[in-house]
């Protein structure tokens, strides 16, 4: 199955051989090609080169064509403030009645953007080129600003009082934003995008009641449109939007994507009820930006354990920070592709580091080597260690069985891992033979395996 097909299957909430992997590369692509974020977001060639570089470095199953929630707002008259190492941000709101300089417009003054407005032309030209180059290999996401976040861009924080004081005006604004979303989706689909993702982080600021009234009718129409075009859709939210997940599912996207503020297991339970796939949620700042490669493997592993392989897309919680260390993202790729030992041996500078494996055949005991990240911080590693301890203690093997945890945070453990031929974490090895790779066995089964190993050595 190709990477693209794997992602498509995962988005359709089907069982896949492994979780799909989609690093959300936004302004980070600028760093990959050695330029500042402002130049990146304004230049077609940079947009193309950045995504192609991300594809080469990170071996994903999918990528966003562009992660910029200001395209529509800019085309509609919002002034933007650009940054050296961040996405641009909206600086003015044309519909703000209290801004006598840059605001004061009405909806009648605004027109649905066309290809000739703002940066639409360079974005869609870049999209076409990216789709032509790698669109057969991976799934490509056209990201649109969700209707509520777009409404906030246009009106500013006055929207929160307008929802209460003048709800009919808010409905008119949301309808307009729905039409902008649909038109932008149409352009991305025409350019070759496989998936349309409506990114609506500001919905985390409103209640489920307000979501149901002011967001759901319009978001639903957007996803309906995407479905009619034969494409897949995703509904992204950042921030603490746990209370709105169920309402988001009712809008009928194919997928929901979240950040670290919402527990992944909670989203999994809700999404599975609605037969919707889900994705997330590696921590952006603590892990991806400031963590080490093994921290990233740890966090991603925890996500994979919770997410499983049915309808799950492993992803960062949102677009990765500009300065995210490349080796951190590569670390996650290595986990996804089952190449941790290769990655860690490259990263660890193992010259001069020694680890001597025991002479398993001649030892007067059975030795269980458990290769982990660190059972004190990695959930699946912890479960595996607990199973080993439980199997050994319940078997009453006395001193005929020894178990050792090898934490690959330590270089000696990486050498041990390589020598044992282990390529994934966590793994149980019994007397030098790999037994369980990333699967936590039943305690009784493991106890039986240990007994067999003892019998093979005439120790039982």
């Amino acid at each position: 199955m190709s990477n693209k097909q794997l992602l498509i299957s995962a988005l359709k909430n089907e069982q896949t051989e492994r979780a799909a992997w989609v690093p959300f590369v936004g302004c980070h692509a600028a760093k990959l090609i050695g330029i500042d974020a402002e130049s990146y977001f304004k230049t077609k060639e940079h947009l193309v080169n950045g995504i192609i570089k991300a594809y080469e470095e990170y071996r994903p199953d999918g990528l966003p064509i562009l992660f910029d929630l200001q395209i529509e707002a800019e085309a509609l008259g919002c002034k933007l403030k650009y940054s050296h190492d961040n996405p641009p941000s909206v600086a003015t709101h044309p519909l703000d009645p209290f801004d006598s300089v840059n605001g004061g417009k009405t909806l009648d003054d605004l027109k649905i953007p066309t290809i000739n407005n703002g940066r639409y032309k360079i974005v869609m030209e870049a999209a076409k080129e990216i789709c032509a180059k790698i669109g057969d290999k991976i799934g490509l996401y056209g990201l649109i600003t969700g209707p509520f976040t777009l409404a906030l861009h246009l009106l500013g924080t006055e929207i929160f009082y307008q929802m209460e004081d003048e709800p009919e005006l808010t409905h008119e604004l949301m309808k307009f934003c729905e039409n902008v979303c649909i038109e932008t989706s149409r352009m991305y689909i025409e350019a070759g995008a496989d998936i349309i993702a409506a990114v609506d982080p500001m919905t985390s600021q409103i209640s489920p009641v307000h979501f149901a009234e002011f967001v759901a009718p319009y978001a639903t129409k957007v996803f309906e449109y995407v479905r009619e075009q034969g494409k897949l859709s995703s509904f992204f939210v950042c921030g603490d939007a746990k209370r709105n997940i169920e309402e988001m599912c009712k809008c009928k996207p194919d997928n929901i994507s979240i950040d670290e503020n919402i527990p992944l297991d909670y989203v999994k339970d809700i999404c599975q009820k609605y037969d919707i796939s889900f994705g997330g949620n590696i921590k952006l700042t603590v892990t991806m930006l400031f963590g080490s490669p093994t921290d990233n493997i740890n966090d991603a592993q925890n996500c994979l354990t919770i997410g499983g392989t049915k309808g799950f897309i492993l992803a960062p919680g949102c677009d990765m920070p500009f300065a995210t260390p490349i080796e951190n993202v590569r670390a996650v790729s290595s986990l996804v592709h089952g190449e941790i030992s290769d990655f860690l041996s490259d990263e660890s500078a193992l010259d001069g580091v020694e680890y001597n494996l025991p002479d398993y055949k001649n030892e007067k005991k059975v030795i269980i080597d458990v290769i982990t990240l660190d059972s004190s911080s990695c959930a699946p590693c912890q479960y595996m260690m607990e199973t080993v301890k439980s199997a050994v203690s319940s078997g009453n093997f006395g001193d005929k069985v020894e178990y050792i945890e090898h934490k690959v945070k330590e270089k000696e453990s990486v050498v041990c891992m390589i020598k044992l031929g282990v390529s994934n974490i966590p793994t149980i090895v019994i007397d030098g033979e790999i037994k369980y790779v990333s699967i936590i066995p039943e305690t009784s089964k493991l106890r039986d395996d240990i007994s067999l190993a003892l019998k093979a050595k005439n120790l039982l």
Binding site: P87, G156, M202, C238, D259, T285
Partner: protein
């Protein structure tokens, strides 16, 4: 009395939108307070370079950014606040 906006350098897209909206709210609030003759309120934006610096911020209890702190007391954690609500908080602080 100090009103602080605590932000993190390298925010994600969503946090950046929230942060900028909060800065606008601060600007509007300052204008409104000045028009009402309310003085001696200092508005400050504090940008943290690393999440660990959270522990150095007095009054920051819920570790979600961006956050607003009024007189050493946290009033928002990762969420927006409207100008009217912020003024109400400030009024409650200066007129107990």
């Amino acid at each position: 009395m100090k009103v602080q906006l605590i932000t993190l350098a390298n925010p994600c897209t969503a946090c950046l939108i929230t942060e900028n909206l909060l800065k606008e709210v601060f600007e509007k609030t300052q204008i409104s307070l000045k028009a009402r003759g309310v003085e001696n309120i200092e508005f400050e934006t504090v940008t943290l370079n690393h999440p660990q610096e959270i522990y150095n911020v007095e009054g920051l209890e819920v570790e979600k950014l961006p956050s607003v702190i009024i007189g050493g007391e946290q009033v928002t954690a990762g969420s927006l606040i409207h100008r009217r609500k912020l003024e109400q908080f400030i009024d409650n602080y200066i007129i107990p």
